[in-house]
């Protein structure tokens, strides 16, 4: 849930200047200063459809929009991380975004991680991106496309971030084999209401990975997330009387997923050319009740939700600094309930439509710290096909952010 900013813009600029100054001071890694990095992200968008965005069959969270048209800011992030002592590593990431004229500061990550438990074990606690799936734990500025895959938007409201604890274990096998479990609060979308006194959601995942020769590497993951949900809100609708009623869901939710990624580069040297192929599949079952809060008389229905979807994307760097990528998304929803009209009002009626989307992108990275991207998509999320064109810049200032596989 976003908090409305109470920080005046002046203080915001003070924070930005202070971080620039600290970046200048903290030249070396291994200094006592934390690693500070600032990501600046600006965009220009153009759509062919004027209608509101919908994803029939899925209750969308507040974050799951296609972005604004014209010039607008994307996801600017300030991230501070460091080893705390020899036992812990800590990281904080705030996203500074502008929504309809108001600057909002959102705490995206604020967690500590153990460094020296040994035996391949690690505990992470605080607010963090869940490690289910492949893309979920990556920051938006690292993505190969400007926006999240459609299944992430539909099921997770872009990414699952929650407050809680994670325990993971790297099994001492030759192959990379990691197992982890998470227990979290379950208040943020797609969970809701912090059920069970703030212990509403749990997750489990396994990841395998290895090299094939010098030029290829792969990673395969299976994950499961479940939550008890009380009053999960999604985007509001207007009913005929003009009052805004907000669909809310209470019940159980279970998500299972597979993710797979394959990377190739000649001789393992990814600077010249490299190819990445990535696919994820998720399926969700929900069982509970949907209400249109604020409607009078109170409209409600039982609801058995059955949604699934996948995406397949491939990115190829054909000469140094230039990359081209293609992504295909495909979703399907088959929801049932006692009152079809209420389901439809809540956006849960698939309307016999299969949402899909094709995206093509081209980006140029002058160095590993700056990138400019052009992205074109044919979006069939709902019945009116939409053509989206985006231009985006992403620059990172500060610490040499090391990224995951």
């Amino acid at each position: 849930m976003k908090k409305k900013s109470i920080v005046p813009e002046l203080l915001l600029w003070a924070i930005v200047f202070a971080s620039f100054y600290s970046v200048a001071l903290a030249a070396k890694q291994g200094d006592f200063n934390p690693d500070i990095s600032l990501t600046l992200d600006g965009r220009y968008g153009s759509y062919s459809n004027d209608t509101d965005y919908e994803l029939p069959g899925f209750m969308l969270g507040a974050e799951a929009t296609r972005g604004e048209q014209g010039f607008h800011l994307g996801h600017n992030e300030l991230s501070i991380s460091s080893n705390v002592d020899d036992l812990f590593y800590g990281k904080l990431t705030t996203a500074i975004a502008d929504h309809e004229g108001t600057t909002e500061i959102e705490l995206e990550e604020a967690y500590i991680e153990t460094l020296t438990l040994g035996q391949g074990m690690k505990v992470k606690a605080g607010r963090f991106f869940s490690d289910i799936g492949y893309l979920n734990n990556q920051h938006g500025h690292v993505w190969d496309f400007m926006d999240a895959p459609l299944i992430y938007r539909g099921l997770f409201g872009n990414q699952i971030i929650d407050d809680g604890v994670q325990l993971s274990w790297l099994v001492p096998t030759e192959l990379y084999f990691k197992v982890g479990v998470e227990a979290t609060r379950g208040e943020r979308f797609p969970a809701g209401g912090a059920a069970n006194e703030g212990k509403g959601a749990q997750a489990a995942f396994v990841k395998f990975g290895d090299d094939v020769g010098v030029s290829h590497a792969w990673q395969l993951g299976f994950s499961h997330w479940r939550a008890d949900i009380e009053d999960r809100e999604s985007g509001g609708h207007d009913d005929l009387a003009g009052a805004v009623s907000v669909p809310t869901y209470s019940g159980e939710s279970q998500v299972s997923g597979i993710d797979f990624i394959w990377k190739w580069s000649p001789n393992g040297n990814s600077r010249e050319r490299n190819l990445k192929i990535q696919a994820e599949y998720f399926t969700r079952k929900e069982d509970g009740e949907v209400e249109l809060a604020g409607s009078n008389p109170l409209a409600q229905t039982t609801y058995q939700g059955d949604q699934s979807g996948w995406y397949l994307q491939s990115v190829y760097q054909f000469i140094p600094r230039w990359r081209v990528g293609y992504r295909y998304d495909h979703l399907s929803a088959n929801n049932e309930g006692s009152d079809a009209a209420v389901l439809a009002e809540a956006g849960l009626d698939s309307e016999g439509h299969t949402p899909e989307r094709s995206t093509l992108m081209l980006d140029y990275s002058h160095s590993e710290f700056s990138r400019i991207r052009l992205q074109v998509a044919k979006d069939d999320s709902y019945e009116d096909s939409d053509t989206l064109v985006f231009l985006q810049y992403i620059v990172t200032l500060g610490a040499h952010g090391a990224h995951r596989f």
Binding site: Y89, L115, G118, P172, G268, E272, S367
Partner: protein, 301 residues
Amino acid sequence: MKLCIRSISIMLTLIISPPLMAKINVFACEPEWASLVDELGGERLSRYTATTAYQDPHHIEARPSLIAKIRRADLLVCSGAGLEAGWLPVLLRQAGNNRVMPGKTGNFEAATMVERLDVPIDVDRSMGDVHAAGNPHVHLDPHRIQIIAKALLARLKSIDPEGAEYYQLRFNDFTQRWQQAIQQWEQQAGALKGIRIVVHHRDWVYLFDWLGIEITGALEPKPGLPATVGHLASLKQMITATPVDMIVHTPYQGPRAAKRLAQITHTPVVELPYTVGGAEQVNNLFDLFTVTIATLKGGLK
């Protein structure tokens, strides 16, 4: 029956964890350190190399296989001084192996054992990907390798005290051969003193410092940025005014920019192995310098 089970258990214990046969797991970030580890550690070590001569050590993917290997390592031997800053910290955090975290005995940073060149006064990103702790490519100076070998010996002894004598013997043998080889190389490289070379990236600083070769320019306009046509043009101007003897690049740097510049300035272009495995005949550190010096002399003709 019970005897049978007991004897099988004993056999298994011997096979799985005998102190006599347990090898120390060493994770070497680059092939040059892998080679040094082999020289000093021999049969007592089981060594894994993270990168090859055909990969840019600044930019390695943090692959799952590396995480699994680091998890089992007893000793990490890397260059340090920021060379692996783009990928090693993430791997260390994910591997959860407290023996090899920075500052621990199991974490050996070769570049911090010797005096470094090119330490910048101020640093900022507009200067490109500059290493704030000085140039980390320290393996290209045989004198520095000797110093690092001594430090590595001490580290091996502290991790595996039972092997102390074994390592000492191997070190003495290595030192003898190495010092002899250095004398030979310095003799052979006499003709290379004072020649002028254009490099691709400033990874040759230590080699040329030892051999007395001048680095006149670099194909990269700034460290980490690939060569651009505009920069080639300015290099061409400079070379026309003051000619250089050759252009040099590594196996992991695409030869196109170097070849182009060679064409337009009629200068010989030469690929040097840079590290162990960078050319067919380069199987260890001795070969590395022998072949490098021979190739440089060949380029002069």
